[in-house]
Symmetry: C2
Subunit: 454 residues, 2 copies
Amino acid sequence: MSTQDFFAANAERHLEEFLELLRIPSVSSDPAHIPDVARAGRWLADRLNAIGVPEVQLIDPDTHPVVEARWQVDPGKKTLLVYGHYDVQPVDPLALWISPPFEPTVRDGKIYARGAADMKSSMITFIQALEAIVAESGEPPLNLILLFEGEEESSGRVVTEYLTANPDRLACDAILNLDGAFPALDHPGFGVTLKGGMLVELHIKIGDTDMHSGKYGASVPNANQIMAKLAATFHTPDGAVAIAGFYDDVVPLSESDRAEIAASAAVMSPILEESGAFVEWGEPGYTAAERAGARPALDINGVWGGFTGEGAKTVTPAEAHMKLSCRMVPNQDGRRLYDLIVAHIEKHIPPGIKWEANYLGGAPAYSTPRDNWALQVAASTLADVYGVNPVFYRVGGSVPITIRFKDTLGVDTVTCGFTMPGSNIHAPNEWFRFEDYPKAQRTWVELLQAFGEA
Amino acid sequence: MSTQDFFAANAERHLEEFLELLRIPSVSSDPAHIPDVARAGRWLADRLNAIGVPEVQLIDPDTHPVVEARWQVDPGKKTLLVYGHYDVQPVDPLALWISPPFEPTVRDGKIYARGAADMKSSMITFIQALEAIVAESGEPPLNLILLFEGEEESSGRVVTEYLTANPDRLACDAILNLDGAFPALDHPGFGVTLKGGMLVELHIKIGDTDMHSGKYGASVPNANQIMAKLAATFHTPDGAVAIAGFYDDVVPLSESDRAEIAASAAVMSPILEESGAFVEWGEPGYTAAERAGARPALDINGVWGGFTGEGAKTVTPAEAHMKLSCRMVPNQDGRRLYDLIVAHIEKHIPPGIKWEANYLGGAPAYSTPRDNWALQVAASTLADVYGVNPVFYRVGGSVPITIRFKDTLGVDTVTCGFTMPGSNIHAPNEWFRFEDYPKAQRTWVELLQAFGEA
């Protein structure tokens, strides 16, 4: 049966599989969801076994398992390593979801669910594409190693350990990362440079206990106030990061960098339209697209301190807390930025205040060489399927595994996926379009066949 | 039976009554606790009926009832209005309580519970003192109006409405407010000047939804960042409030003001020792005691925005929130300060950011004239009971009803109570000392008898 006929005959079951996977709340950063993450891993392994992949195993099956699936068809053929992740971001703020995040709901031609765009759609359509190829040809057109992890949105520990311990077993000629997105609605493209990221938690303490603000508020520091004064020093008034040395390791943008960014920006939605933000903001001297794709940033992801419940409680809080993260461009190092942040805090926090900063991990940026063979093959395939030349664009988000692949296997990664701009990844009401579902299936088939022929 | 013998014979039951009252979680600012507040009101009314008060009624019995109890013994005698509140502050952060806040627990000669110090101990010992007098003499030594409210820690709505509607019914010669505290351990005193207070909530919004910090963090504002920059402008670097006009209506401290504050500070614990704060902070040019008692302040009681849960979520948050309050000295007005705060926000918030500030209410400061007859009688009584001259001190906290009494009834208030410094009112692990319990009972008896003879 041709792959086309196979997709047509199995459309309903394929969609049901997608919904099943979306219903598993595989939030990797929350320890309470470990059993759900493990369940999602088993679910994928079961699917891969069912379509006839000869070797399927779960690594670390009880926590955040990596699903490794291997199909060696011919030692003379190339080997493609396919990477994806089946875990998802947390759902807060839950109140802003129109339908529950783990009850996939159809509205306006879209499936709304946490993970619909990032990236359960990519993963399940790829598996279904492989199933269709097997139905048509009995086996894939080249050797495959699938590596699907369950903690991309948190530490990536299991896959990193497995990668480090098994460089020979994971040797390959190209890497396809399914965690990609279109730069514009219906316009294909490849995220060829990914920012790195690093996470810090900061805790401030001004005393042993919360205090009555009437008795003490006029005479002792307020932890929220100290945190605000400190956080206000993180950026200059015009939007640059004010941590001394923050930009030291950044390679200045070349003319060709700026041209590439301008070309992708020409097809992409303006930041404001896409994000829902009311105004632009950020480092001066760069376009919004340059900032988003090629300049580092520091974000205060969360702040809390004092009384935040219903009603009023007039305390002078003893503690205030912050989660912050930096997005890094190539050549920046998370540990070094952490040291700079610590030095900045030491310099700016008033004497006598206790504080603690913790480095929660990070990974550097990664850039795919524009002349990489697999990138060229993939670009040509997408041009055929979509009838338009895909653009090379830069991604503000981080996929730490790409740099780890490069360091460990010496192989570059091509990132490709069907998430559309504005699909609310990492935010409430994440969605994936119905119409992109069969296109994704078909593209994966064409891509695998093109890699096989290359 | 003498009052002394009566207390001795009923000590165990009296203590059990205190514990019963402490077990009722009468948190007035949380709508979920309205039934508990109403239950505490009924409990007090039942006690007052049981000891023979002729007229007891609950005003607004289903929400935050005011318990009014009247005992007219002789139209030729003076009338004392006794005020107290039986509601309590919220308990957050619950995790810092060593024993549950509504399960009174004895440790080291103290009873730990929310409301133990603020102010269920004062209220129940006063009722028991009245019971002892009735046991000895059949009736109180002067006419009494007891007015116990259930929402002092939130809006004070019911008692204010009742007061406004019934100035003739509440006409009196003196007002005794049981919501007082000792300025130092075992050293009696009267809080003669209370700060006023006002509450504001502030909400900031930079876009329609939380955003992926990798995609947008470098190019759009971050609500936490905007809030921090704004909050950092509320105070000057050296600790004064930087809201333009904030101090305009403040009457400068006179030499006698400063002398009175210094005298009370001489017996009071240093702020740092008492509060558990690591360092002092606040408006320059004033002692910590002057700031605490006689200078206005602005506190950020709560802040929250973005992802504050377990783990990591790299969002650029769309919203940030703040609860702030000002403590006001005599001659300041909450509405006017609110207008100044709004003007300050308008001036300092970047263009294009949506925000909303809400005035949640407030009450001006209040000062008891130092020559008030009831204050003089009370000071002389406490000097006798404790063998040491009570000090007149200023209170950073707010008891809005005092100014309302003055405005409506034209009568000044004497505030007296047995809460000791460091007893964690409005904070976790609030306590009241066992040894102060019989002393409070005896003092109320002496005080009532002294008022009766005056």
